[in-house]
């Protein structure tokens, strides 16, 4: 079984640079999710690991062996495609057996492996069917079954759930999580743009943006301690409220002044050199609560109320910033449009970023 190590991996198509040096160490048996907006290079990176795209520069090794020039079939990987990529003219059985036949496995071994995969994925009744006679979810399971049959050391998933409807997506997500549990030694790398999939499946998440790694970490680490504005905005839904501010008094805690003249003391240390510099102040919608009395963080007029029952979303036109702030309050809240609300938050849940978008580290 094998881990995957990327050292300064770069990719360019002619003059266009797609990946600008990716360093990553995926441990054996780990479930790593690449997440990022479309065009960030996450699928390209996965296809480079698979061997479907050449590596422009850098070194990639799987299981301790450099694989830059090793063909896909010898890398010990299997890949599940977004469009399933089933062979339309072959039955489910033949789809799963194709790779094994190419590798000249014995008939009995092929049969054993295909039936075992069919059992795991509840495909046994459909082995004789053609892909066109299957539903989307079943096709997806065949694609996963084909990967299992190859008995890979590294499983690659390229947005495997994006062609499924919402209900099936949740069910298949849980199936993939179970599959990982059954194969603790198998490394899995999973590409998605859906942060729910990333948060629920991953041991570690790699957030990519414009061909660079923004942050690597456990899901909750990314949520609680984003190292920059991009990750702060990308992880979490609705995304973090970011309010322009300036550092009024650096130190620990820092006093910042928001654009409307209001000052907030944030328990995060800042170096004295930052005095007077621009900064961004962040607070997650779900960390905001309605303030009691005069001790509040922000004040504004409610422009829209979305009551979902389990939570109530308030869009607050604050005196600060152009975009409305969003507050996500638990349960049903008695607030109406055009009410003025005062919001506060636990000081430990506040975030502060410097002018370049990098987070000032929080105290542990």
């Amino acid at each position: 079984m094998a881990g995957v190590v990327l050292k300064d991996i770069r990719k360019s198509y002619g003059q266009v640079k797609v990946l600008h040096g990716i360093d990553l160490d995926v441990a054996e048996g780990e479930f790593v999710v690449f997440v990022g907006p479309s065009g960030c290079g996450k699928s390209t990176l996965l296809r480079m690991i698979a061997g479907l795209e050449t590596i422009t520069a850098g070194e990639m090794s799987i299981g301790g062996k450099v694989v830059n020039d090793v063909p896909p079939s010898r890398r010990g990987i299997a890949m599940v495609f977004q469009s399933y990529a089933l062979y339309p003219h072959m039955t489910v059985y033949d789809n799963m057996a194709f790779g094994l036949r190419i590798a000249h496995e014995s008939k009995s071994e092929i049969d054993r492996r295909v039936r075992a995969a069919g059992d795991i994925l509840q495909l046994t009744p459909y082995l004789d069917r053609l892909p066109k006679a299957l539903s989307g979810g079943q096709r997806q399971r065949v694609a996963i079954g084909r990967a299992i049959c190859r008995d890979p050391e590294v499983f690659l998933f390229d947005e495997p759930l994006s062609n499924l409807d919402a209900a099936l997506r949740v069910a298949t997500r849980i199936e993939i999580a179970k599959l990982k549990e059954q194969m603790p030694q198998t490394t899995m790398i999973y590409v998605t743009h859906d942060q729910v999939e990333a948060m629920t499946l991953a041991d570690r998440i790699v957030v990519l943006s414009a061909g660079r790694v923004e942050q690597v970490g456990r899901p909750l680490e990314l949520y609680e301690n984003p190292t920059n504005l991009f990750v702060a905005r990308f992880i979490g839904s609705p995304s973090m409220n970011i309010i322009p501010a300036t550092v009024a008094e650096p130190g620990d805690p820092t006093l910042i002044s928001l654009s409307a003249g209001r000052s907030v003391r944030v328990p995060i240390a800042t170096p004295s050199a930052k005095a007077g510099e621009a900064a961004s102040f962040g607070v997650r919608p779900e960390d905001l609560v309605l303030a009691k009395g005069d001790d509040y963080l922000l004040e504004g007029t409610v422009s829209l109320v979305e009551a979902l029952g389990e939570v109530t979303l308030l869009y607050v036109d604050g005196p600060v910033g152009a975009e409305p702030m969003i507050a996500k309050l638990p349960g049903i809240v008695d607030v109406k449009k055009n009410d003025t609300v005062r919001l506060s938050a636990d000081p430990g849940k506040l975030h502060l970023f410097d002018a370049a978008g990098k987070a000032f580290p929080k105290k542990r």
């Binding site: 479907l52 010898r74 495609f81 977004q82 990529a85 089933l86 062979y87 194709f98």
Partner: protein, 337 residues
């Protein structure tokens, strides 16, 4: 030139106008014949249903009539003629059929036609497929495709004239102007009279049709190849298949329906091959095919409509089943799944 354009435009406009007028008038007549009166909803709905049942026949009528006049009637007439003598007046029973079975030239034509059938569709489809795959991978692929497709625009007679120069032979001391003989001489061989070389000359004639039709096969198959999802090829790469295996086990099966349509379309064309043989050899030196034999019996040496009709029926009997299969395949391709 301008007057021709104007007059043909006028014909088109008048034609469309008369068609529209026909549909409008026939529908009006239908409404008069099956009126819907107020007050009795059941009678009204009955009349509307009858109108709906009659209308398609009314609208299809002219087309059906033309089909009967120009397709069904000739078939029936040919069938009847095949039992009559050369002038079509005296009934001779199956004598024409007996003649055909025993006639050496008829047998020769059948044999030659079978050879054409075995070689030309296979060669066109094979070359078309190979070229379609190859040209997808090179930057000048589209230029190559255009060049290969170009002979499609040349008439069979024109193509034959071009190829006459390739196979040209000059006797005596004259310099060889034929391309093939020039090449043979370049490599130290003796020039040959290619066109009158029995048996092999059939293949020299076939080369012309292959030259013309490969472009057709290439274009259709190239489009089909582009329709293959890229991911299935990538999945096969990950499964460890090499280029050959990907081509035969992943790509060809996915375009099998299209290959069949191309193959049968060219097969039908080959069964009707006429112009090339007429221009190149006129059926001499054992190159006769059925269509040319039919033409010879009908229009040369005084004419024999009976024997000619027998040959026409043989060609039709050969084409019809392939045509039916071809149309079915094509329908499946265009969304029957």
């Amino acid at each position: 030139m301008v007057s021709q354009l104007v007059s043909s435009l006028g014909v088109v406009i008048a034609g469309v106008f008369f068609c529209a007028l026909y549909y409008w008038l026939s529908d009006k007549l239908l409404q008069l014949a099956l009126p819907v009166r107020d007050g009795d909803p059941r009678a009204a709905s009955l009349a509307l249903n009858r109108r709906a049942a009659v209308r398609p026949w009314l609208f299809l009528g002219p087309a059906l009539l033309l089909l009967v006049v120009y397709l069904v009637y000739p078939v029936v007439a040919t069938f009847i003629l095949s039992f009559y003598d050369r002038s079509g007046t005296t009934f001779v029973g199956a004598a024409n059929y007996v003649w055909a079975i025993n006639d050496a030239q008829f047998r020769q034509s059948i044999f030659n036609n079978l050879m054409w059938l075995a070689v030309v569709p296979a060669a066109c489809t094979f070359f078309g497929l190979v070229i379609a795959v190859m040209t997808d991978r090179i930057w000048w692929g589209n230029i190559a495709k255009s060049l290969i497709f170009m002979p499609m625009a040349i008439s069979f007679v024109g193509a034959s004239v071009i190829w006459k120069f390739i196979y040209e032979y000059r006797g005596g001391k004259e310099a060889q102007i034929g391309l093939l003989n020039a090449i043979v001489q370049f490599f130290g061989g003796d020039p040959q009279v290619w066109i009158s070389m029995p048996f092999w000359n059939n293949f020299f004639l076939m080369a012309i049709l292959i030259w013309i039709q490969t472009g057709f096969a290439m274009v259709i198959l190239s489009a089909a190849l582009r329709g293959i999802p890229e991911e299935t090829v990538e999945a096969a790469v990950i499964d460890g298949a090499n280029g050959w295996q990907i081509f035969w086990k992943i790509m060809v099966p996915q375009i099998w329906g299209t290959i069949a349509v191309v193959w049968t379309t060219i097969t039908i064309l080959v069964l009707k091959v006429f112009d090339i043989v007429l221009t190149m050899t006129n059926g001499q030196w054992d190159t006769m095919v059925l269509a040319n034999l039919m033409f010879d019996w009908m229009f040369r040496g005084g004419g024999d409509s009976g024997r000619s009709a027998v040959i026409a029926l043989v060609i039709m009997a050969a084409v019809t089943p392939i045509m039916i299969w071809n149309i079915r395949q094509a329908n499946q391709q265009s969304g029957g799944h």
